[in-house]
């Protein structure tokens, strides 16, 4: 033990200096402190920016990219982003006189360059044939002789021409002419590869708004078709515009439903937690039953109640079903919090000072549960977006032509193998949104609730 020499001086009270009385750091409220924590979390901050970007995409996007999501661009159907958009100006269609073309000995050939206006085929007469069948395929016919789509049939050995007037998409096609004998048996076939080029007449270009007057264009000029930054869907609608308008539905459901059902859950749960005893038991038992109710059944009921037919979008029924069946989780959470908080010392102190019940709930209980509620809300948004997407996917929620991310996925999945961009973009938007809300929820939980802080 060390010796200490104490004098009476040491027992004199210290004079109150100014420096000891001032706070060295600024006083922070709970929310300021949470905001500082959140700002320090880089993932959460990026997620917050993404959420803000999505809000801007949804609200301001249609102002910047002012394209009608229902407008069809029939020249560009199922085009991925960055597809060739040029078209050559040609003369208007005129009837074809195939007799001028006939000169035998060259096999199956094109009488004129193949365009999406017309593909003109001529071939040599087969001495044994009584007629011909014409097929078209988008794939090579291969050893299986997969000729593709039957286009037409001719009934004379000398009828050796065919004109394909179907408005074709510009790509490579495989035309096959099959010779038939008098009994209709196949006696031979010949295949031609044709690269179909996109053309447009001057009048059409004016109609589509690509030129001011037909005189401004001469045959052979190139025009550029309308721009679709994210491509078009299977009906030629602009994907970007559809994603923007679809975001309104998806985010509306995804944010409104959780906000409303959590509000109800907070009121219900705080009532149960505050009343306690038998009333609490009764209220929570009822909440348990509501959890067990089948969601899809109520979805159907509300669709019928709101007079929404089988092929119509049920945004309101969907919202109502989600609100009415999702609140018990929040109610249970808030009840647990309230039960915990009402035993705290500061509640007792406040009560001793004469605080009324309403004051206690509004001033102490709800603010102290707000952090947990906010975190739960952030996690409820992704699940609501998933629910909307799932319902639209099975055709119960939003149906075409109204775009939503879920219904766009539903349409895109059908052509997943040939035009994957129709599925990828809406799926990407759903995933990014859900990811952002999940990470933001993680960050908020770390910032707001010391007890639930994850151990990273």
């Amino acid at each position: 033990m060390s010796e200490a020499t104490l004098t009476p001086e040491d027992f004199r009270p210290a004079p109150a200096t100014h420096a000891a009385q001032t706070l060295s750091r600024p006083s922070l409220s709970y929310w300021q402190d949470a905001w500082i924590r959140l700002k320090a979390n880089r993932r959460a901050l990026i997620s917050l920016y993404i959420v803000m970007g999505l809000a801007a995409f949804t609200l301001l996007g249609p102002l910047v990219w002012d394209v009608d999501p229902a407008a069809q661009d029939v020249d560009q159907i199922s085009k991925p982003p960055g597809a060739d958009r040029s078209a050559t100006v040609v003369e208007p269609y005129s009837a074809w006189d195939p007799s001028l073309q006939n000169g035998d000995g060259h096999g199956l050939r094109l009488a004129a360059p193949a365009t999406n206006q017309t593909v003109r085929l001529v071939w040599d007469p087969d001495p044994h044939a009584a007629g011909y069948l014409i097929y078209r395929n988008i794939f090579p016919i291969g050893p299986e002789n997969a000729f593709g789509l039957p286009l037409g049939e001719t009934f004379s050995p000398n009828h050796t021409y065919f004109e394909d007037l179907l408005d074709l998409a510009p790509r490579r096609y495989y035309y096959t002419v099959v010779s038939l004998d008098a009994f209709g048996d196949r006696i031979g076939h010949e295949t031609l590869e044709a690269e179909v080029k996109r053309v447009i007449t001057a009048d059409d270009a004016v109609v589509r708004g690509l030129a001011d007057s037909p005189d401004a264009l001469s045959v052979g000029d190139k025009v550029t078709l309308g721009l679709h930054p994210l491509g078009t869907d299977n009906l030629g609608r602009d994907m970007l515009a559809r994603l923007m308008h679809g975001a309104r539905v998806s985010l509306f459901i995804g944010i409104c439903a959780p906000v409303i059902f959590m509000l109800f859950g907070v009121i219900y749960g705080s009532a149960a937690g505050f009343l306690a005893g038998n009333a609490d038991q009764l209220l929570m038992r009822f909440a348990d039953f509501v959890v067990a109710l089948p969601f899809l059944l109520f979805m159907i009921l509300f669709k019928i109640l709101f007079d929404v037919g089988a092929g119509e979008s049920g945004i309101l029924p969907m919202l109502l079903a989600m609100v009415l069946l999702s609140w018990p989780g929040t109610a249970r959470l808030v009840r647990g919090q309230i039960l915990q908080i009402r035993e705290e010392g500061y509640i007792g102190a406040s009560r001793l000072l004469g605080a009324k019940t309403n004051y206690l709930i509004l001033r102490h209980m709800i603010p102290n549960t707000l952090g947990v509620i906010l975190v739960t809300l952030t996690f409820a948004v992704p699940s609501a977006i998933f629910t909307e997407a799932f319902l639209s996917f099975i055709g119960m929620g939003v149906v075409p032509p109204t775009p939503s991310w879920g219904s766009m996925c539903n349409e895109g999945i059908k052509t997943m193998l040939t035009t994957p961009h129709e599925l990828i973009f809406p799926a990407l938007f759903i995933s990014i949104t859900v990811l952002a809300f999940n990470l933001l929820g993680d960050g908020l939980r770390d910032a707001l609730d010391a007890r639930m802080r994850s151990m990273d």
Binding site: P294, I300, P382, S431, I432, L435, L439
Partner: protein
Amino acid sequence: MWKYTFKRLIQGVITVWFIATATFFVMHNVPGDPLADAKAVSPEIRANLEAKYGLDKPVHEQYLIYLANFLRGDFGISFAQQNRYVNDIIYEHFPVSATLGILAIVFAGLGGVLWGALTALYRNRLPDVIIMFLVILGISVPSFVVAALGQLGIVNANNFFGTSLLPAVGWGTIAHMLVPSMVLGLGTMAYLTRLMRSSMLEIVNSDFVRTAKSKGLPPSRIFTNHQLRNAILPVITVLGPSIAAITTGGFVVESVFAIPGLGRYFVQAVQQSDYTVIMGTTVFYGAFLVFMVIVVDLLYAWVDPRVRLE
């Protein structure tokens, strides 16, 4: 224990009764006649059906008949698929869904525990970062997209190897079940991984692990006997809700992979407004879920003796 089990079972029965009642009154209040949808029903069959289900009787009598039919396990006849009893549909297709679901749960549970334990062990190092990134991805991608990508993967793999490694659609053999059950379990696995990780991190800092270390036990033994065993407990708690998530997710996977499970018939029934099938499968699924939650709760008490059942 037995008293608690009995109490839970009674509660479960009440819940199922509540579901059945709610279903009945929802369906009853839907405007229109449930038989009006079936165009092919002749007047005689219609009269018979009305008599059988008592549609000509007042609501409260209908309700009692409905409950009596349910108690006898008679869910009625499908309106959309002629000559098919809802019982037969459930009997034929539920085993398929259940097989798929059990495989998915096994996959999700094993994967979740394993990955979660690994991430906690390699906390903030490369395996942790990679696995947690994949987990976040797994939580964020909707199930139908995962299903579609899974199918695309099968097709591409088959094309690449030039043989049919795995069938892309259908049901029957183990090969059919593999990818769909993995797709179905993926979301749950991601969720369980996160849960397992945080639970494991908590356990690592606990007193008994320190004691075990100071006793000089080998790390592998501490990992399996002390850490893993205790960290698994919260995973078991959420297994009940996970089963619910997997059965609802099953609808999508069954639709995409053309698996003849009950979920697919349920979605079909919803799309065709086939009321008896909707009611029957709803009550059946409800009863199944209630039962599974009770089983999981009992299992939890058995695994963790600290939980006292009152």
